[in-house]
Symmetry: C2
Subunit: 389 residues, 2 copies
């Protein structure tokens, strides 16, 4: 067994000690003024993070609960929606829609590729009844970033709302909701927000809230109108996951201290370094339009990525994830999402190089990938002057 | 501001340091073997706690999410259900049922009273189409224990399932699901299980699972069949609230060490001591059939309980809750649910006696209530021999 363990998965992501200790404090009561003040701080912070003037609602659930909410709060039985299915999470939009009796038009996108805005435009023309376009900002199963800004622009003139699952994107890259015209934006706690899983978040535009007034699908726990009413009073409709909200307040303070521009630049730097490392050792990248949250990589010919992942875990203490469904056994995924910095990528790349060698693959001398990553980091390192700014 | 703070509310309840520190450990990945082993341990522990051979499912949600699940997984649109409404939580069953288009027969019970099994029997005769009886083991808004054992026995011969919300009861008192014939039993993490809020639990009998095969209400996040399938593989359908599950494993170890009989006896002792204390200072008890989880008390004539609660908080650092809805301003509630022992009740009673005096009420010399509580505790104290057994 390795002495040390490293979590490099796209959710859950490592929880910083500062946050873990904040959550280990005695628990406050959620109907007490102290909690209300904390929740007010969290609500302001989430608006800042989302780039929105709308309320950002907090739920005790995983991200899937917010995905369900993004359907049941805005559609009516039999409504038509368009879902972008280019991976596990895109597929889920369709499954939820069907569970609630919607007419789902599924735009299938080859795994590893991003949706073409033109295909969305075409679908909206073909099916003018579509009331919502559902897609991912970051499809974690493939590491692809869909062009949500362009898609949001396309829906602006239509009756359809643009609904974006940013569970593994928000906080890692800019997604200014109001500026880009995203109508519904959801995320979760266990990714760039550096918390354990258990919280989901959602905001909706005026256009979306108007649709919601006509929505007829049954809902109770995920009734966003009721939540909005309560959360505007710094309360929640149902008992909140208090310790996670306490942690979130600390996360927001952290992000304000670091500054969002620097947080995004850090994610960008780690993503570029990881990609450079993988290419330097002769591994092909899987995602054509890669997201900054994770780097997905084809396992070399003859190396089963599930076995590689197992070696990484058992021999080097590094937890990565392999591929799912269409990509099972074929790819591995390096996360750099949330509490990650340069040396985490050095760890990941070094372990991957060694594990690949253990599995008989060594196209370049050991250290080649690490060196490539380091050069990118050096080049993109924060300048002291920028840091002070 | 008081130097120290004491949380004596019926949820959230205090989290023991041992549990908080377990949850502050680095977070494991939920698809890793180590988490699966931990989850297997948790699943076994929950079965033991529920007294059932059925699967006990874990959800990332508040207890209300499990209440919703207990409706949508077993009923069809238009189905008739019977709900016992003798408080805030009983009322919620009806609200959820209506949100999903059920025909809800609401059995109204005066606040502070328990439902009469005869009334249930009568309703089942009058409405033979009823497919579910929904009630609380502990109605936290009134401190009443409904006679769930008797109600479960009444439904046994009918098509109706007996669905019990034991959010503020399970782990505080015996509720052996299989022995009593409870069909659906739900609870939450933030009560007797001594965890922060964020997890809900549910188990269903064979009879309930059969109904579930016919259930047609739409559901996705709270789809219990899918969860059962996944959790049997020590996985969850959606990302679990990992840190809370880690804490739960530690809680279950704790409860096994203390022993459930002793846990129940401790709750019983604290409940009796609290009631004796309140009666000794001339305060009337609110619940006619009080639950062991909390003691609800009429505020003395002329003392607004909301103001009393505020004084307790600001002057003595003791967080209690007052009354809701029909009981607002009239009652206060002392919780002794979860991580509570004798001296916590001494604290609560001493603070209440002083706060009452601050508000002009002092029927007995200060310390009368505390003394009464202490005598009950002494009488019901564990005998060393019992402790060793």
């Amino acid at each position: 067994m390795p002495l040390k363990h490293y979590l490099l998965t796209p959710g859950p992501t490592p929880v910083p000690e500062r946050i873990a200790l904040a959550m280990a404090q005695p628990i406050p009561h959620h109907r007490a003024p102290a909690f209300e003040a904390l929740f007010a701080e969290v609500r302001e912070g989430l608006k800042w993070l989302y780039g929105t003037k709308e309320d950002v609602l907090t739920f005790a659930s995983s991200g899937t609960g917010a995905m369900e909410g993004a359907i049941v709060n805005f559609q009516r039985a039999g409504d038509e929606i368009l879902t972008v299915n280019g991976g596990k999470f895109g597929e889920r939009w369709g499954k939820i829609g069907k569970a609630y009796g919607l007419k789902v038009h599924e735009l299938k996108v080859e795994w590893g590729k991003a949706v073409e805005p033109a295909a969305i435009e075409q679908a909206l023309k073909e099916h003018p009844g579509i009331r919502g376009v559902y897609l991912q900002a970051s499809e974690s199963s493939t590491g692809v970033a869909h062009p949500v800004r362009e898609v949001a622009a396309l829906t602006r003139g239509s009756q359809a709302i643009c609904v974006v699952d940013a569970v593994s994107a928000l906080g890692a890259m800019p997604l200014p909701m109001d500026e880009w015209g995203i109508d519904v934006l959801i995320t979760g706690s266990q990714k760039a927000l550096m918390l354990p899983p258990g919280l989901a978040f959602a905001a909706a535009s005026e256009k979306a809230w108007k649709l919601s007034a006509e929505a007829t699908l049954p809902r109770f726990y995920f009734d966003w109108r009721r939540e909005r009413e309560m959360q505007r009073k710094n309360q929640t409709a149902w008992t909140p996951a208090i310790s996670l909200v306490v942690g979130l307040a600390e996360v927001i303070r952290w992000l304000r201290e670091e500054g969002l521009d620097r947080v995004y630049a850090r994610h960008e730097r780690l993503a570029k370094a990881s990609r450079a490392a993988m290419e330097a050792i002769g591994c092909r990248l899987y995602a054509e339009r890669p997201v900054v949250s994770l780097t997905t990589v084809w396992s070399p010919e003859g190396v089963d990525s599930d076995k590689l992942v197992k070696t990484l875990k058992t021999k080097y203490g590094v937890t990565l994830v392999g591929g799912q469904d269409a990509a099972k056994g074929k790819i591995f995924r390096i996360a750099h999402l949330g509490y990650f910095d340069d040396l985490d990528i050095v760890i990941a790349v070094a372990a991957i190089e060694r594990a690949l060698a253990d599995h008989g693959y060594r196209a370049q001398p050991l250290g080649t990938g690490v060196g490539a990553a380091m050069r990118v980091m050096q080049e993109l390192a924060e300048k002291p002057a920028e840091k002070a700014a």
